[in-house]
């Protein structure tokens, strides 16, 4: 394993001319850079304030406030259609339904919009999956603490005798906002006290039973209804470290996972773009569906994919999202089916473990590890460590790359317990 093998892939060939530009919804330098690298025309639809920056770079730009939905929202479609935009791509959770609305009008197909809403409502999403025969946990939409309390009791009553043998004999339930991205706003409920502590503005939200097992995510690049590339990303410790592609355990059931992802794509009627679902593999080898997103995954998973598989996933996202992409363009970008990865990439999110920190100090052991690749940690900004929100405010990540997924998993677990700030 040489450093060279983890290098950035070359930009590759330019794509064939298209009939018009794509609209990229949300400010993502990565995606815009990828579009420029493959020669794909685009219009950037970005929050107000970013336009002058982009105009300086010669990027066609439409400033838009994605948080405001009112009787003027259709103006975005009209502006884009005036500019000859033929399709739009959501880059952030908040822009998913905007892309749905625009694309449904571009394709004159109203269900594209209604389907996009499935991604923005976690309860609706789960119900849709369940109705398509996909295994999900028990869940409920709730408006009050009383309802959370009832759900918590019922789940635990139902598990009497068969439930997981936890320390205090309680199976936790999870409370999640309906429409936030990833782990933002997630609360673990273990007791009545936890329920009492739920903020008033958390409602309405959903609660779901706890799913045990190995959690992992998939990044499925879908074009014309077919999965063109599937990455399996293993959460070694959710929110702390992950491994791409996953180790031998998950890889051995790859075809089963592929079937599940295809079923999901069908259930959500995703013909173009990226699906980023999360599953739990339980002790019986059954897959339970957690949730799914239709945008670029968080946690630097795309960086890991690029290192491990040797293609630019942002370019992959663009090509898959574009109905006009040709077969040969897809073939050139994605690794062939059965082609082994260049190696396994993993990252470790670093959270200072002390209340007060002064300096960054990466342990020699970690730096000297043959799998150590790079890090993006900097000196601490303030000496008081903020409390965590979702998995969002880690101080940065350390990236590892190496041939052996088992060793990788071992070192991740080991290094996770070290101090990176003193």
């Amino acid at each position: 394993m040489e450093l060279a093998t983890a290098k950035r892939p070359a930009p590759g060939e330019k794509v064939a001319p298209r009939s018009g530009p794509m609209a990229l919804l949300g400010y993502s330098a990565e995606t815009m850079e990828a579009a420029m690298r493959i020669g794909l025309d685009f219009v950037a639809v970005v929050p107000n304030g970013f336009e002058s920056l982009l105009e300086k770079d010669g990027v066609p730009v439409v400033p838009w406030d994605f948080n405001r939905r009112n009787e003027e929202s259709h103006l975005l479609y009209e502006e884009l259609s005036r500019r000859g935009v033929r399709w739009s791509v959501p880059l952030y959770e908040e822009t998913v339904e905007w892309a749905g609305a625009i694309n449904s009008r571009l394709a004159d197909s109203p269900q594209i919009f209604t389907h996009s809403l499935l991604f923005r409502d976690k309860a609706m999403m789960k119900r849709r999956a369940q109705m398509s025969g996909i295994r999900v946990g028990v869940f409920e939409e709730v408006d009050s603490r009383t309802q959370v309390h009832r759900f918590f009791r019922r789940v635990n009553d139902a598990l009497v005798g068969v439930g997981p043998d936890r320390e205090n004999g309680v199976s936790p339930v999870h409370l999640k906002p309906i429409s936030a991205a990833g782990s933002v706003g997630h609360v673990l409920i273990r007791s009545d006290e936890d329920i009492a502590a739920i903020a008033d503005d958390a409602f309405p939200c959903m609660v779901e039973s706890h799913l045990d097992g190995q959690e992992f995510s998939c990044e499925a690049f879908i074009h014309d209804g077919k999965v063109r590339f599937l990455n399996i990303n293993e959460y070694v410790h959710l929110g702390h470290c992950q491994l791409t592609p996953a180790g031998p355990g998950l890889q051995s059931i790859r075809s089963q996972i592929m079937q599940e992802v295809e079923r999901l794509a069908k259930a959500f009627d995703v013909r173009h773009g990226l699906l980023h679902p999360e599953y739990f593999l339980d002790a019986d080898g059954e897959l339970n569906f957690g949730e799914v997103a239709n945008r670029v995954p968080g946690g630097h998973i795309f960086d890991l994919i690029e290192m491990a598989h040797g293609f630019d996933p942002f370019a992959g996202l663009l090509l898959c999202s574009d109905p006009e992409t040709r077969e040969d363009e897809l073939e050139k970008l994605f690794p062939a089916v059965g082609e082994s990865p260049r190696g396994h990439a993993a990252n470790l999110m670093v959270y200072p473990r002390k209340q007060r920190v002064r300096e960054l100090c990466i342990p020699e052991e970690v730096r000297e590890d043959p799998y150590f690749m790079k890090h993006d940690l900097v000196e601490p900004m303030i000496s008081k460590v903020p409390s965590r929100e979702g998995f969002g405010n880690h101080y940065g990540q350390i990236v590892f790359f190496g041939p052996d997924p088992l060793r990788m998993r071992e070192i991740l677990k080991k290094y996770e317990d070290l101090d990176y700030y003193v």
């Binding site: 394993m1 040489e2 450093l3 983890a6 290098k7 950035r8 330098a29 990565e30 815009m32 850079e33 420029m36 920056l53 982009l54 300086k56 770079d57 990027v59 002064r358 300096e359 960054l360 100090c361 990466i362 000297e368 043959p370 150590f372 690749m373 790079k374 890090h375 993006d376 940690l377 900097v378 000196e379 601490p380 900004m381 303030i382 940065g396 790359f401």
Partner: protein
Amino acid sequence: MNTNSQQKASSKPQTLAWLDELLGTIEDAPPLAKGRYQGAIVSAAGDLLDNEQGLRDLYDRAPRFDKVGLFHAGPWENPADLRPSLVSHGLRAEGAVSTIEALSELRMLSLAMGFHEHPEVKAEEAKEFLLQATARNLDLLLGTDSEDRQRRPKIFKRAQRVLRLIQDEVALEGLEKVILEEVRVLSAQRPIVTDRLQSLVHSALELAETLDTHTLGDGLSKYRRAMDDATDLSRSARNPGEYRRSLRDATLEQLQSESQAMAGLMHETGICNPCHSALLRYLCESHGELLGSALGLNQLGLAELDQNEEAVRSLIRVAIFPETAPAIYGLARTIERGLLSRPAVAQGLRRLTDMDIAAEPRRELLAGFSDDSAVTANAALLAGTLGVLGQPLGIGQGSSPTCQSARGMSLWSLHAPNLLLDMVVSAARNEIVEMEFEGARVASNELPPSEYESRFDSGVDAVSKVLVRHLDRIYQEMSRRAAGRGEDTHKWVNPAMYGRWVARGFASPIDPLTGRVSFYRGFVRRFFATHHPEFHGGHDLVYPNPVGLLVTDVSGRLIGPHAVSLQRVAQDEKGELRAYFFNPNNDGRQDWGQGIRPSVSGNGEIPGESSLPFEDFASRLYAFHYNPYEEGDAFAVPDESVEAVVVKARESWGRSYPWAE
């Protein structure tokens, strides 16, 4: 184990290789995507800065930094915009900033060495920048021990490595001159707090030793002597305690020469020797007749001492200790100002001696002293008050954005010392400062903390420590109450806050609601007609005028508004008309672009004053007070004079504002 180590030797990814890859990637990236790689480069560079070889490797690549866009779209992008005075803050900063600052220095070094070029920064200019930056960071260069250094040793070692490289690469020939000038300028302003001056002298002396140069050492000798080598007896004593014992055996002649030497150096440099306090305390006991000479008083001062000898003795006994020695200069100047003959002042100072100081101000007053110090909070506050009364123009705001409070204290010290003392007493004892705004009471203890309060600089004088938080709250509250009236709030806030010394007329060309500049020519004419001796009809300034300046950087770009006091307008020795002003930021040597460089000495300044040619000052002015009954002839001001100011204003800060004309 064996395979592991083999793997390590052959495959461990080198940070440098990673950096090179990143530099290649960022170079190819379109401008909008540069930011995607800047963070990773900074992280890699941070690691490299941790050793000499890594630093050299970075330096080798520095000629590429500008070209690849390493600083793209950030504050460091254009080296022509950078200021040497900010390097110190940058190198010590938290987060990614310290690394970016170091990389920026390497870029500057590459420019200075001619390894690459920049359209706006010539090699000579880059060299001058590095010279200035080095001179202001001698403590970092020399690795001077400090609390901050002990806390974050890695950051300080990195900074030292970078500055050493600069020192090795560019022959810092001018460095000695720059340092001496910096010392001279700091000393000329006679600040109340002399810590910065003293640590600069210490560092410079250390540097002189390592460089083995005489010019620097010679130039610093009077400062060195003022600090710790003033007299024969103090030289042989290791500390003020020993010095005190040696005074017992001293002859009268010896005492006389000790007194003269100590006082002479103090008045020459503004620095007080800790032994000086021991001398004064000893003289109080046994040789009161030498006090005048030991304080270096002028004729007026001697007469004052004669009148108030008991008060002076008691001030020395209560407030003058080795730890509070800097107050000796303040004491001498307070006596010379005749303040002790004013009953209200004398009474106010006595109150400071025996009043109870509340817990919070007590903690702040004593924060700077070591464990074995026996100085009381009252002594610290009294000593600080002597500084503020004796050196009204030596008050500094430190690094806090509290220029309004500092200039208020300065004005009161000059024209209403008893009012100032009342406020100090009330703030220290009751933790309240009360004022009135348009008939309504404004009390600091009922107001929320101002936004900077948690970040106030603790390196300011004792009175500022106690008073500024109250004044700042009041200033903010008055500004809040005056907001939205369609005119600059200072029109109402300044007279209410500073008192009746502020004239009621107010001029500003900037509409606070629209931010638009209008009637600027008229504004300039009015300033001439009220402040220029040729046009103001003989109405010289009586009290300092709290004016607003728009401070600009080297390139003339707006930095922000700043509160100063216009002290007087007068001709200097060369016959040039200058505006003399009090700038509480104590950073006399600035460059505001367009050749406008405030000076602090050499142009007729009283210690603590800054000055500029009248028209240059006018070109940065955006608000001033005037007496409407004392307006001169605005129409008589020649068009050329007005035009010259207009051009300088429009081409500097004026670029950041819309103009109505």
